[in-house]
Symmetry: C2
Subunit: 495 residues, 2 copies
């Protein structure tokens, strides 16, 4: 295909083909991987990126997996306008304070100055709840469970590919309920879906928790999140689910007739994950060779590389084609039959691009009715990296099994890393040392006072990522003021 | 689900639940159907609509079908920025003249006035070819076959739900090739895909043809299109595929090293279909009861309605559930088990929403091991509308067969209508009479002079929709000037 063909040239020895080792410069390593694998590229528009086919294939697989879980829990997709009248944003006080500084504003349309400027949606609560006000009359219209897949724009000063861009792709769910309790249940149900997705599909273990007021979504009553740990021991927020209470319902007059005959405002939730998850995927699993993709999300799960001298060309290519045909129904497989490239070059390219499993097919393999299987795994599981011989006759069983094993290994490795890099800390001095090196999650007591939280942030650049939902009750003293605390919070420096 | 629940109330006898008959006011009929089935709604943003779950479900099924065909022919998806620097648009002269008057312009971002205004993409040739200039060096990088699914904005004065809105969803393919011939082949290959999709999925027959210069895409060398006929005998352009020649390659310096070692500009194509297709679907098949959806695109293909008195409730619901479970793998099926609504009310609702097939399940049906099947078909096939009894044991075969039959019937009916409403005309007087009543496609000779074309448009509001690719050679005299013509053009009034 085009993007692969675009890199079909043998690599020059120029610097732009080299991936900086993680230990040397983690940030450059990340950018190198994203650019050189062809996941994304910079665009001529400040802060905006181009998502290339490999990145887009990942996002589409993420979308399909999440979409299936949303549907299975009764949600439907819809699509709301890109533009939001500026006055809408102002209707919820916290919301406008949070988002107005990040907005892109359309002032002209069709050659004329607009009477009211339009904001390019940074998130869609306002426009969506204005529609819900029209659609909802009675308790029989509830719940409304709607999701949209869309692009949003938040003006960013410092951007990084996938992690923070002015425009990004995401899904945003918006629901309306008859009771507070139902809204809270929905908020937590979605949080579970996000964690299941992160664990089972991305192979990225996450901490499920609630944000402090300082980190809450602008306009929410409570923000829940899942937080992951990257290989450089910085945290990354991978998804958020907000209980909005009646804040937006009151701002947009979304009222309904209750079963008893009275009137009440509805209870809303909103929740989202974005293309940022692709950045998380790169940083959670990648190595100095390049990308490492979990099989369940990899656009190509298996690459078949034929190995031949000219005389055997036809026979070997026929063999690989028949293997691809045979496995098409059980995995996402393709062959690399490009002429004029050494097998070793192809191996390197597909390893850099993170394809989970490579099958090598030579003439002697075919004679013996077998192939050589080489899994692409991280250094922590190097023992399993050894090549293995697989009989062709049972590939439809052995290949899916190997893919499942690779998926599990990736998760286990990441889980181990998360556990090893989560530490309990009881003094601010120790905290300041550990946050510098080795970083990771620091479990520390906090009294609940925003001033203590702000001081930690100012002095150490670490923030409270969340109070874990499963944090055990434990009496302690706040790291800063010594005030009473009933459970530890997850602190970390974060993306 | 929410949207269905929202309409779970028994209908009031208010005017807003009545669908205007087509014969009375076709345009109001269309709007009534779109609004009352819950496909879409007006939004508070001028010219922008909200696509509700039923409309979105249709679009997603369209997307998946087309996406599969694009992939099968080697295309990959990517995503390019929403914003385009204003200067980019100006690089191709015809292009900027065509699109600048329709642009929405962002002048402020992050609280500051931008140095250069950004245009919200009306189409993405300029931003995409600026990237291709970066990615393409040699003939080995070609072809590039990329598609994107995205929202675009074109400022419209007079809008209509789905048919013409300021923001709409679409796909836009953008390819780069080493030769003119390859680009032309690609342009026509895509045109074939569009026609196959219109015929096999939408059940809407189309004329495949080439546009006149007056109707050509701004910046293209040649624009091909598929044109369909709606029930009011107006034409609708359902998809376009453009051979861009080297126009954009020259504007954006997209050059490559040829195999021979020289340099040449690449040859581009671009092609797109949009949510407008949903409007076409409504107008091609709908009737005075509401929507009629072709089974291959219908979000719900089969609705199962249980019919029971209170005492039999559990037994009948269990029966319908087991039927739904059994058929889940072979069709998109759901049950309407809402309590407190008469079966007749449910029948009406699902008929209005265009569900192709209804299964009615009562206690006596279950005793006899059968269900009653009622297909939702247009008036032209009224004979087939009669209910039929189907044994439960073989539903997994009979239901898919019935759906396929309904799909074929819809196509045949539309095909017949197209043929009956395509007329050969040889005098301008007859043309003027026929274009008023009954309308439809008028096949007439045209000399190729834009002045003659413009006069027809001015005097009759009819335009040349296309010169059909399969138009037979036939010597004739131009309708207007009597000049020589070698084939007939398809004239019609159009959406």
């Amino acid at each position: 295909m085009s993007s692969q063909q675009a890199s079909a040239k043998e690599p020059k020895k120029s610097a732009d083909r080299v991936i900086t080792p993680r230990a040397e410069d983690y940030s450059r390593w990340y950018t190198d991987v994203v650019l050189q694998t062809g996941m994304a590229d910079y665009s001529p528009v400040k802060g905006c990126m181009v998502i290339r086919p490999l990145g887009m294939g990942l996002w589409e697989n993420m979308r399909d997996a999440l979409d299936g879980m949303f549907r299975a829990t009764g949600h439907e997709n819809a699509y709301f306008p890109l533009f939001i009248p500026e006055s809408f944003l102002r209707k919820e006080k916290e919301h406008v304070e949070g988002f107005a500084p990040e907005c892109a504003v359309v002032t002209h349309g069709g050659g004329q100055k607009l009477e009211e400027p339009l904001v390019v949606r940074p998130t869609s609560e306002t426009i969506i709840y204005s529609m819900y006000a029209k659609w909802i009359q009675s308790y029989r219209d509830l719940p409304i469970l709607i999701n949209q897949w869309a692009n949003v724009v938040r003006w960013e000063m410092r951007t990084r590919l996938f992690l923070r861009t002015t425009e990004f792709l995401w899904q945003e769910g918006h629901t309306a309920h008859a009771t507070d309790q139902e809204a809270e249940e929905e908020t937590l149900k979605i949080l579970d879906i996000y964690q299941t997705f992160a664990h089972d599909w991305m192979a990225v273990p996450c901490i499920k928790g609630v944000k402090t007021d300082a980190e809450r979504f602008a306009g929410a009553v409570r923000t829940y999140c899942i937080e992951a740990l990257m290989q450089d021991n910085k945290a990354l927020q991978a998804g958020t689910s907000h209980n909005l209470g009646q804040n937006f319902a009151k701002a947009f007059e979304v009222r309904y007739q209750t079963e008893a005959g009275g009137f009440d405002y509805v209870w809303n939730t909103s929740w989202g994950v974005s293309t940022r998850l692709i950045g998380a995927l790169v940083m959670a699993h990648g190595d100095d060779t390049g990308l490492v993709l979990p099989p369940r999300l990899a656009p190509t799960q298996v690459i078949v590389v034929p190995i031949y001298k000219e005389a055997e060309r036809e026979r070997v290519l026929e063999g690989t084609r028949s293997i691809v045909e045979r496995l098409k129904g059980v995995c996402r497989i393709r062959e690399d039959a490009r002429d004029g490239l050494r097998p070793g070059f192809k191996f390197n390219e597909w390893e850099m691009k993170g394809v989970p499993l490579r099958l090598e097919v030579g003439p002697r393999d075919l004679d013996a009715g077998q192939v050589t299987a080489a899994p692409r795994v991280g250094p922590e599981t190097e023992g399993r990296r050894e090549k293995r011989t697989l009989p062709i006759a049972s590939l439809h069983e052995s290949v899916p099994q190997m893919l499942e094993q690779i998926q599990r290994d990736l998760y286990d490795t990441a889980r181990k890393r998360l556990e090893e890099n989560t530490r309990r800390v009881d003094s601010y001095d120790a905290f300041k040392t550990l946050i510098e090196d080795p970083g990771g999650f620091l479990l520390a007591h906090w009294c609940g006072n925003p001033a203590c939280e702000a001081r930690v942030k100012e002095e150490t650049k670490a923030t409270i990522r969340c109070i874990a939902l499963q944090a055990p009750e434990e009496t302690g003293a706040c790291l800063i003021c010594g005030g009473a605390s009933r459970r530890r919070a997850h602190f970390a420096r974060a993306y």
